[in-house]
């Protein structure tokens, strides 16, 4: 069992209404309204620069919107996996233990080992975290996210710089974590990955939510022209 779940999980975990984000004079997100329900694996898709990372950071509360509101269900604990995760200058196990203490959760060896086992890093527990490969660091980042016992995990293009084998390992972990009841919100610009993982697709172009549909529906019959062109492999400018 990976996450202690509330007896009844609220259906809507997070709601954005009319959210815009401006950096300097550039409008990065434009009037985004979105509701994230517990359950389906939500994939944020879109070309580079469409605002996926910004949307995730806003949802996590790392940055504040320039306009609009973000509501979260009470006591919602979320975690974030960055595209390039920063490893603390300590061992793998100590990285996980660090997150546990920051969240005021028990950090005994057993718990840490359990978390590392989920992501397949148990044998590397004493290795300096910075010495891990890219894929291993990403898995450690996921273990750190899980260490917070979150109801919701944001992942920002976690496999963008990884080779296929590492990518598969990460995707497997994401699927098993989602299966245990943790809501996954993940961004990607890789259409194949989205096809593999998405139960729910949010399609962004130039800071606007252009389509929001279930996975099968989106891939079988995209509603908008932009989505069609994107799925066909064209550059959507």
């Amino acid at each position: 069992m990976l996450a202690k779940l509330e007896p009844t999980i609220p259906a809507v975990l997070l709601r954005l209404q009319g959210v815009s984000y401006r950096a300097g004079s550039t409008l990065i997100l434009d009037d985004v309204s979105l509701s994230l329900d517990s359950g389906p694996r939500t994939i944020l898709m879109g070309p580079n620069g469409s605002g996926k990372t910004t949307l995730l950071k806003l949802a996590m509360g790392l940055i504040d919107p320039s306009a609009g509101s973000i509501e979260t269900s009470p006591h919602l604990r979320a975690a974030f996996v960055f595209q390039r995760p920063v490893m603390l200058r300590r061992s793998v196990a100590e990285n996980v233990a660090f997150v546990r203490t920051a969240a005021r959760l028990p950090f005994d060896t057993q718990t840490v080992v359990r978390l590392l086992t989920v992501v397949g890093l148990r044998d590397l527990a004493d290795r300096p975290a910075r010495k891990l490969s890219g894929g291993e660091q990403q898995r450690l980042a996921i273990a750190r996210a899980l260490a917070r016992e979150p109801a919701l995990i944001f992942l920002d293009e976690p496999t963008a710089s990884l080779d296929p084998a590492s990518t598969k390992a990460i995707e497997d972990v994401v699927v098993s974590v989602a299966a245990s009841g943790v809501k996954i919100v993940m961004s990607t610009h890789d259409i194949g990955q989205a096809r593999r993982l998405a139960s729910d697709v949010v399609f962004l172009v130039k800071g606007r939510v252009v389509e929001h549909a279930s996975g099968p529906a989106f891939f079988a019959a995209p509603a908008t022209d932009a989505a069609k062109r994107f799925l066909a492999g064209e550059l959507v400018i």
Partner: protein, 241 residues
């Protein structure tokens, strides 16, 4: 030209007399080196205890006048040792505000003066290191939910190898200075005489053998400290990434 070479060779021979002093383990020499190390090590420890957290806090908090404080800290890195010595002398003299402590002309005063001298260096460099590290770690630590006080301890620990190098730099600066310890210590034979003040004194007396041997010991110590700093960096690269 010949005369210059001649005089230089005479000095070197004096230096050989210096080696005899070193090898024979002259008791005075040993006492001077021992006091120098104690004073500078204690000063470095004190300066580290104050300067490292100070640098970290300045790096991580925003407050009115912060930019001015950063400029002042950076500027104080160049504080002339004699000025630091003078400031402490005025504080500790019997006619000064802390005169009743009776600390003037003691090793404790020397430790205080050297600590005052190198705390800005340690704080300013630590601030830079922690600020850079924070830029790297900010998003991650915020997402993990690390509180403000924990940020300080987390970054101080993660920067530990750079901070050790900073402490060694402070040590080197303190070990090499003569102005501060001369003024507050008084260069008292057997009580407050350290390597640098002895070199100054013996040179002025024309007693170059002792001055040269102490100079060699001092250089050796500084070299060893720098080699150790280099070693720390290498070890850190290899083991902690």
């Amino acid at each position: 030209m010949v005369r210059v070479v001649n005089v230089f060779l005479e000095r070197v021979l004096d230096g050989t007399g210096a080696f005899d002093l070193l090898i024979s383990g002259n008791a005075t020499l040993f006492a001077i080196v021992r006091l120098s190390l104690i004073v500078t090590l204690a000063a470095t420890a004190l300066a580290g205890l104050i300067g490292l957290p100070l640098g970290a806090v300045v790096a991580l908090t925003r407050f009115p006048g912060r930019n001015a404080l950063v400029v002042v800290l950076n500027g104080l890195m160049g504080l002339p040792p004699v000025v630091a010595g003078l400031a402490i002398f005025l504080l500790l003299s019997r006619t000064g505000p802390l005169g009743s402590l009776g600390l003037l002309f003691t090793p404790t005063a020397m430790i205080i003066a050297q600590a005052v001298l190198i705390t800005p260096i340690i704080a300013a460099l630590a601030r830079q290191v922690i600020e850079d590290l924070w830029a790297e770690y900010r998003d991650e630590l915020t997402a993990i939910g690390v509180g403000p006080a924990q940020r300080v301890t987390t970054l101080l620990w993660d920067a530990r190898f750079s901070l050790v190098t900073i402490l060694l730099a402070g040590f080197g600066r303190a070990a090499a200075e003569v102005g501060a310890v001369m003024i507050v210590g008084g260069n008292i034979d057997g009580f407050t005489r350290v390597m640098t003040t002895t070199i100054a004194l013996e040179t002025s007396k024309g007693n170059l053998a002792l001055a040269i041997s102490l100079g060699l010991v001092l250089i050796a110590i500084i070299m060893a400290v720098n080699a150790f700093a280099w070693g720390v960096r290498q070890w850190a690269e290899r083991h902690a990434g």
